[in-house]
């Protein structure tokens, strides 16, 4: 409750931001929002349910390519792509969740890296279907009309920004509902002690699989938004570097704290913008932050603040 009161002015501020900001600032804000959705998703599966994944980039790409391919082959609008991207990415999430039923820790992490690599190879090499290294152009379209009156139409950068902001808000609310539902509590139980969770009758199979599906679906939604905003997709937008960046964002903010990863995403997505011509070293900086952060504050910044506040 407290959090929703804090969030309202933030969302309101973000909603009126385009009126005072230029194109560059708006595209930076949109990038931040994409990362917020990605990090939010990873926090569900890793922060709440305790299952590591380095495959965020792959699900992000699956969502984006779903939009691009649907737009090419079916000519549909973004209103179809959003649910479809969530569904397709979510199905692949279910697939990746299956090894998680048997593997834990490092072993699971390696399987997710393999999945990420296979996905990258598939989208970069299957030229006839995905356009290969060149990628695909996306003919972006989306219009909301009620009784012939157009309420909203994708076109200007602002319209993409507002759509992204709206979808991000819905994703944050949905994730908040999830982590506070019975399912969210079961995820935490699986993370804290899987044997005990099963002994008290919690379906740990269902718990893990749903966490993977929710995570992948969110990444898929972010992918659809990205494909439309950039009006195209290329394989190099969905590499393991994206996955590593999102892991760094979540860890820095504090996994399993909900707000922490969101803050981590905002901070680490802004950093490259201040690096100017040194931006190509951003992975070096993320890596350093991650190593120092994990050594000094393994529970993340927000996690540490909460712990000291509860004392």
């Amino acid at each position: 409750m407290k959090m929703s009161i804090c969030a309202l002015p933030v969302i309101a501020g973000l909603a009126i931001a385009p009126l005072g900001l230029g194109g560059y600032e708006l595209s930076v804000l949109m990038t931040i929002l994409f990362y917020v959705i990605l990090t939010l998703g990873l926090d569900l599966v890793t922060g709440y349910c305790g299952q590591f994944s380095f495959a965020t980039g792959a699900f992000y790409g699956i969502g984006a390519y779903t939009a691009a391919i649907m737009s090419r082959d079916l000519g549909t609008s973004i209103w179809w792509h959003l649910p479809a991207g969530a569904l397709v990415a979510g199905s692949f999430g279910l697939l990746l969740g299956i090894p998680a039923l048997r593997l834990t820790g490092h072993f699971l992490a390696i399987v997710t890296i393999a999945f990420q690599t296979i996905m990258y190879l598939a989208i970069s090499q299957w030229t006839s279907f995905t356009g290969g290294q060149v990628g695909l152009h996306v003919e972006s379209a989306g219009k909301l009309a009620v009784f012939g009156t157009t309420l909203f139409e994708l076109g200007s950068l602002r319209s993409y920004y507002w759509l992204t902001l709206g979808v991000t808000t819905v994703c944050v609310l949905a994730a908040w509902r999830l982590v506070n539902s019975r399912l969210g509590k079961e995820w935490v139980a699986i993370r804290d002690d899987e044997t005990l969770a099963s002994a008290i009758g919690l379906n740990t199979t269902r718990g893990k699989l749903t966490a993977f599906v929710a995570y992948a679906a969110l990444a898929g939604i972010a992918g659809v938004l990205t494909a439309h905003s950039l009006r195209g997709v290329t394989p190099d937008d969905f590499t393991i570097w994206i996955s590593a960046t999102v892991v760094a964002m979540m860890m820095l903010g504090g996994r399993g704290t909900f707000i922490g990863p969101i803050i981590g995403a905002v901070v680490l997505a802004i950093v490259p913008e201040f690096l100017g011509r040194y931006a190509e070293y951003k992975m070096l900086i993320y890596g350093t932050i991650l190593v120092i952060g994990m050594t000094l504050v393994p529970e993340g910044v927000i996690g540490r603040l909460r712990r000291s506040a509860s004392r």
Binding site: R177, L183, E186, D192, L196, L202, T204
Partner: protein
């Protein structure tokens, strides 16, 4: 004896070259308190893990509440009415005492995951009912004042009681208690004995009691199974098994007769 609620036939479990359980058989009748004892390393813990579903046996069959559960994961056995406590205390340390209980009440809720996420009316009333039940159980265990405290703030004895209360949340027909008296002070052991007896007499719960403290076994168990090196070496009333030469030999070694004569 009444019909068996839990029955294990010829269980075998190997870990690499070690055979932890080799051909053990036991049956817990309805409303019975069955003791499972044996020296360290005799396979008691493996046996409990096999019965509760944490590990799967290499051979043999387990029947619980009329169903073959040999390969079912533990959450499925919990749904059939089996609850357990752990030798090493196991509670969710990040949760309050009450929330630990409510979580165990999830399996008695029928509103689906979607309903819960949407905060539907039925999901909310079920959640409220689980909280009420948790409060009732805590007061039955005289722990209501700790309901909203973190479980880590409780003593070992109190945490054991919370574990047993948690087991009752799912309204089980069978409770597996893995060394419940370990680490308890003598007055708390007395309380435990009274409590376990009441669980059987008032709630009609059948109990499998794995225990080292012989006083608890003597006072509570109708029947005792003794394991040694993964095999059942004796079965009978507590008095019978403690006087069984095989049992004495398992506990204090084969030289006892010679030393006793010397």
């Amino acid at each position: 004896m009444n019909t068996a609620l839990l029955e294990a036939r010829c269980l075998v479990k190997r870990f690499g070259g070690v055979t932890a359980v080799s051909g053990a058989t036991l049956a817990v009748g309805e409303g019975q308190i069955l003791g499972l004892i044996g020296p360290n390393g005799s396979g008691k813990s493996t046996m409990v893990n096999l019965l509760t579903g944490e590990t799967v046996p290499d051979e043999g069959e387990i029947v619980f509440a009329g169903e073959v559960v040999t390969r079912l994961p533990s959450y499925r056995r919990a749904r059939l009415g089996m609850a357990r406590s752990f030798q090493m205390l196991r509670l969710f340390g990040s949760l309050t005492v009450e929330d630990n209980l409510v979580l165990a009440g999830h399996i008695r809720m029928s509103a689906g995951v979607i309903g819960s996420a949407l905060n539907s009316q039925s999901a909310r009333s079920e959640e409220a009912a689980a909280r009420t039940r948790a409060r009732e159980l805590l007061s039955w265990f005289e722990l209501e004042e700790f309901a909203s405290r973190s479980v880590t703030a409780l003593s070992i004895g109190q945490q054991r009681m919370v574990e047993i209360a948690r087991g009752l949340m799912s309204e089980p027909s069978m409770l597996v208690l893995d060394e419940p008296a370990a680490g308890l002070s003598p007055p708390n052991v007395d309380r435990l004995i009274l409590l376990v007896r009441r669980l059987r007499d008032e709630f009609g719960i059948s109990i499998l009691l794995v225990e080292h403290v012989m006083r608890v076994v003597r006072e509570l168990c109708d029947q005792v199974v003794v394991l040694d090196a993964g095999r059942k070496i004796a079965e009978g009333t507590p008095e019978q098994v403690v006087n069984d030469p095989l049992v004495i030999e398992a506990y204090i070694g084969s030289g006892w007769k010679r030393r006793a004569q010397a």
